[in-house]
Symmetry: D2
Subunit: 342 residues, 4 copies
Amino acid sequence: MNIEQSDEIDLLLGRMKAATAPLRTTLREIHDRGRGDHRGEVATYIPELAKANPDWFGICIVTAKGDIFEVGDVQQTFSIQSVSKPFLFGLALEDHGLDAVLRKVGVEPTGEAFNAIVLDEVSNRPFNPMVNAGAIATADLIAGTDYPDRLSRMLAMFGRYVGREVHVDNKVFLSERITGHRNRAIGHLMRNFGMVGDRFEESLELYFQQCSLLVTCRDLAMMGATLANGGVNPQTRERALDARYVKYLQSVMLSCGMYDSAGEWAFRVGLPAKSGVSGGIVAVVPGKLGIGVFSPRLDSRGNSVRGVAVCTELSERFGLHAFESGVPLESLEQQLDHRGRR
Amino acid sequence: MNIEQSDEIDLLLGRMKAATAPLRTTLREIHDRGRGDHRGEVATYIPELAKANPDWFGICIVTAKGDIFEVGDVQQTFSIQSVSKPFLFGLALEDHGLDAVLRKVGVEPTGEAFNAIVLDEVSNRPFNPMVNAGAIATADLIAGTDYPDRLSRMLAMFGRYVGREVHVDNKVFLSERITGHRNRAIGHLMRNFGMVGDRFEESLELYFQQCSLLVTCRDLAMMGATLANGGVNPQTRERALDARYVKYLQSVMLSCGMYDSAGEWAFRVGLPAKSGVSGGIVAVVPGKLGIGVFSPRLDSRGNSVRGVAVCTELSERFGLHAFESGVPLESLEQQLDHRGRR
Amino acid sequence: MNIEQSDEIDLLLGRMKAATAPLRTTLREIHDRGRGDHRGEVATYIPELAKANPDWFGICIVTAKGDIFEVGDVQQTFSIQSVSKPFLFGLALEDHGLDAVLRKVGVEPTGEAFNAIVLDEVSNRPFNPMVNAGAIATADLIAGTDYPDRLSRMLAMFGRYVGREVHVDNKVFLSERITGHRNRAIGHLMRNFGMVGDRFEESLELYFQQCSLLVTCRDLAMMGATLANGGVNPQTRERALDARYVKYLQSVMLSCGMYDSAGEWAFRVGLPAKSGVSGGIVAVVPGKLGIGVFSPRLDSRGNSVRGVAVCTELSERFGLHAFESGVPLESLEQQLDHRGRR
Amino acid sequence: MNIEQSDEIDLLLGRMKAATAPLRTTLREIHDRGRGDHRGEVATYIPELAKANPDWFGICIVTAKGDIFEVGDVQQTFSIQSVSKPFLFGLALEDHGLDAVLRKVGVEPTGEAFNAIVLDEVSNRPFNPMVNAGAIATADLIAGTDYPDRLSRMLAMFGRYVGREVHVDNKVFLSERITGHRNRAIGHLMRNFGMVGDRFEESLELYFQQCSLLVTCRDLAMMGATLANGGVNPQTRERALDARYVKYLQSVMLSCGMYDSAGEWAFRVGLPAKSGVSGGIVAVVPGKLGIGVFSPRLDSRGNSVRGVAVCTELSERFGLHAFESGVPLESLEQQLDHRGRR
């Protein structure tokens, strides 16, 4: 965080004493309303996901200064699934630099499904790191002396974002691995084009591991806040991502993070975000906040129904859209409650 | 412009006396370097465009406070072409509101060519207002009692952005009209799906008119500055666009404004922008600046070669990327020179 | 018909006296069974088609010697629609020769819908003369001094196939013309690529005329028999098509004649054929028979439900598949009944 | 062969004494002319193929009675590659019947490349048995108690067609196997959709074996003659394929056998045929002849340049097109020379 941003947030903290409707109260309102929404279906493509309680629902906001505001099932663990993808992309950027990474994976939004077996016809690259093909190519780029070393570097990276040691859910991992025919097909296709190397079967394992990481909704908010804070975890003060790459993660999250809804999301909600089939969404208000929402019922595009609703409402009420120029309905700053737990 | 933004810009102006390398000097440097780049080809698909001098090259920056910094052929007129598209979209939003407009045109980036005869398979809508199909559907939405009234409302809208009366280049208009077989095909296809109404042949005429508007590079910068200033022309203080819609124009410019380069542009340059085949580019630094560049030689994707280079360099040097969180190479503020002409 | 074929048919006629189950009886059986099949829907895309009686059902077989076997509503008139397409292609071949025609329209089956607005990406040609784009390009090739002359040449050609003067249903023609937005789109797109010339709007009119020709099920069988007989109408002995082009019409009918079912039709039924949305199907047993079936209810691919069933049964029972090498279930020859009306 | 066909061929043999230009002389002429054509490139995607002598050139015709006419390098062995595909399809039909096979693989021509990783969107089936996906699905259907048994059943089937024991080129097999990333991708994708079962990795091995079979140009002609003769090898009199399925092999060869040229081939040449990347082509004149041509230089679509030219010339000179109705340029029958070796 640079000094100006710090000043801005201090300013907000100063305002907080006069706040009439503290943020935690607002979140509680939104959470209460969201609990009545039972649309959507829990993902069932692997048995472990189908075991989720469809009513789980947590919302957490972490500021770039580390204040935490949360409500609901914020400590319930679940497998991170595709929410992991932008963060792997960040590690690949640190390992190889921008140009080398872009030779193996593009940054173009695509109308294709997230698990499409399609590469860019001209470059043979996957379209972007948020589709499975791109995430596997990204996993293949993770450096390390051998598979255990690569895995432990990956886990360490996630650990820096969430501020604690992270673990893989072994049942989910084995389940992903057994049913991952389509991802294996993608791997072999990219091997055919030289987009991944000979160790790509190992990289597929890494990819299945990464999808099986156990996280909570609060972890997602902390990961978002780390990006909002220029790559530094606002609680541990540990750097999780080189500052140079923060804008790239946020760009690709804005344009490609929400599956087939990505275009409409960027247009209407205007926040860099990433969702996963287990029902998690991470969103970033650059320089200000990370948002984590968890609710397993998914809409037809694979995004958490309640998660989308929560982010949309927060964006509209507080004017969080990246290109907002009007006056927001309410002032977020006035709602920032210093009782937020650091 | 809100009070905080005004303060920020005043702060910059205060700093300017000490500036050692005023912005105009920097622009001159960039312009000098750019002149040596002769890559790309002038568009020839209509004869009028082919008459452009390939060496024309202008750069203009207008701040959200109305200061102007410019170098080169900034007064050379040319037909606006596709740069007009986001502004028409704004007028359609004002005429019908967001939901009604989105029923006729989407906001999804597309891998298809700008002139593809393809509609979204599910909704039958054009993918977005930046492809020809979307621009024609947008033109069809422009309100008015009859064709002359619709045309004059459209011209008045552009006039508010540039701060003067605008004119259509009749030769270009006739040329567009005669060779517009593909656009007529798109019109009939959308008529088939009810995306445009019975007056769509009139709307095609409006579209050809809109593409044939004469502008200068400085006009483009002023149009960008108007968006940067929340929809108000910073010189005339006239509102050109309802503040509510400014973020939507910028969103769709970021994700779809640069033809097939849109994904890479959003990722690397990170500025809402729109280019046209006559060689113009408008870019916006939200809340701060409008940038106009004009140089007729186009790359294989239809974007001005020098225009892309100028915007890329400005974004990198001054940290203008929408999601920048690191320290820019140079401080733009220190370069803002109060000799900028209001 | 060459001498060998004539001998073969004479041989059959000789056998007929001993036939225990004359063909007319077989057709009656098939017709009786078919009447119980009420699946499918009458086409409604133009109002005139929707007026058809869904129960109309006629079957007619005409041999290459001119014998006629028929049952049901064989005299009911209906608009020929797409069944006209291969015959127009034949006239274009006579007017310009094979190579010139193939520069404007391909002969590749396509997975796209018959009314898709898609041209071959490499050649910019329509895929084949059986899709609307190809039929319009074909209509554009019809020679003549002016529009009335081209129209009368086209009508004369159809007249040679059916053996009488043919007429256009004016209500259908006007209906096609008013609702033909998609076909106009196709026309403008091909104009853009130079696949059709400046008179393409006239050619669109020709195309709408051709689709609106009034025919009966017996007419369709006679058209098929004319192809079976090497291009000569077996009743009038008038040549309708240059012998050199007969194989090309039959080829393109086998591979592209049955909309999206074309691949399966060629594989299972193995007869050159063409269907239309009014419910007609013409099929050819090369050297032997023409088959016409008419029943307005269509399956999801746009083919007459009963028409497909009749042709499939005839092909299987009598071993009519183009590549049949086994022993047919029954001998067609033994069923050819000389009470067939010449 | 039925009695009528036998009579026809005897008739031809009777005429042969008077023949002024025996078929062997005609083939020699065609062969001499073809030797001057050096267009095209030898396939190099696996090293073993690249070792072929580009000048190898053989032509062989075998009649449905077993007479052989040949010229050039007719005894040179090469790996059969894709020419094997229709024959495997026949074995699958015998093992499971038509309906069961069609549930796993379609019969639709496709505009996609032969090695495209694309399945029919509605059915999830490969488009047809001539594309790699379809051939792998077909190989998966080959019955047997275990892998060695399945392999030996497959080899025995090929042995019946060529009339001798066949062998796999082990170098080619290993080469296919190592570089088969794309085919493995296809296999995993079909596994994902349940189009292939758990033993699909074994089936991939079978597929690589099948492609690596060593054959000669004369073998190809004998395989074609076996189909022409209703499934019975005309020399050994052994049945290679159930008569019911002969028409299906020929249908799918006509519509899908020549890669991207399939549509034009069916239209212009009109013969069921299949080509392979090693330079072989088999073609069938139903009821009459099998044709084998071998020449390794391929055109841009992957078909032997000289092979295509030979088949085209034979079809045109002798009127062999499946739907020929005119008078051929020359009479094939008069050229059939009884010095043809049985």
